[in-house]
């Protein structure tokens, strides 16, 4: 039963990744600046929401620390993106990518809400690794090359180290290390 459940969860993660990757491929045609803002805001909010669920459900110290970081950091990015968009007079627009991100998040959120204990922790962290990998790839391959406004492009380039560090952090927690140094 347990193995069956884990298999279903693994498939869900895999499907989520495939869906996001397809979206990225679709977006390779080039989203507009308002669409880019919409994609970044959607991606940020999704991860904030996942983090809040983890903080409400997980008792694992490393998972909680990671989740707290996701909520704090992505909230800061969110604030920064909203501020920049206002400054540039860019109004966020939905696109096939942001819509697909949101609908994919509905499934992941449902699964997170249904899981408990170690199964929850594993699913959350596995999804965070996949999610950040997809986001960093999309930022590099689609969003940065597509951005027309120089300030928006620079902001995306500036945010990329954050997504990469989150990916590395998620992998540390996934591997069971949790921290780069033992204290």
């Amino acid at each position: 039963m347990m193995k069956q459940k884990l298999f279903v969860f693994s498939c869900a993660v895999a499907l989520g990744v495939v869906a996001l990757t397809n979206n990225v491929a679709y977006a390779a045609e080039g989203p507009s600046d308002p669409q880019i803002v919409g994609i970044v805001l959607a991606a940020d909010q999704i991860d904030i929401d996942y983090g809040k669920i983890a903080l409400a459900k997980s008792k694992d110290k490393k998972v909680r620390e990671f989740a707290e970081r996701m909520v704090t950091d992505h909230s800061a990015v969110q604030k920064s993106v909203i501020g920049l968009a206002e400054k540039l007079g860019v109004k966020a627009e939905d696109s096939s990518t942001s819509t697909a991100l949101k609908s994919g998040a509905v499934d992941i959120t449902a699964k997170l809400n249904n899981l408990k204990g170690k199964e929850f922790n594993k699913f959350y962290i596995d999804n965070e690794v996949s999610y950040h990998k997809t986001v960093t790839d999309a930022v590099d391959a689609v969003l940065i090359p597509s951005a027309q406004n120089a300030e928006l492009k620079a902001a995306l380039q500036g945010a990329q180290p954050l997504f990469l560090k989150h990916l590395e952090h998620a992998r540390l927690v996934q591997s069971g290390s949790g921290e780069a140094m033992s204290h």
């Binding site: 970081r69 800061a76 990015v77 560090k165 540390l172 921290e179 780069a180 140094m181």
Partner: protein
Amino acid sequence: MTVRNGFSVLMLVLSTLLFSANTASAKPKASPKTYTVSIKGFEFVPEKLEVNIGDTVIWKNEDIVPHLVDAFDFRSKSMDQSESWTYQAKQKGDFPYICKFHPTMKAELIVH
């Protein structure tokens, strides 16, 4: 010259020689310096910093998210954007450190 006067002159010469010798051998003490480590783009810049005991190191967060310097022997407060934290080097040694919030951010402070 009396014996007494001769003795006084000898003492004066010896004192002068001793003072000169002391002055020559004493290494001039460098005045404490202040160094800044920027936290920018999720990196500590410079990644490796060498200072002397008594020097001051200021970590300044230039990222939009909080960072926290964490070594075995010292730990900063949480630094929001544009905030900084000051530490005075008090003991010799190598102090590798990380950002507590982003544990793959690593750097090193060496105190001589």
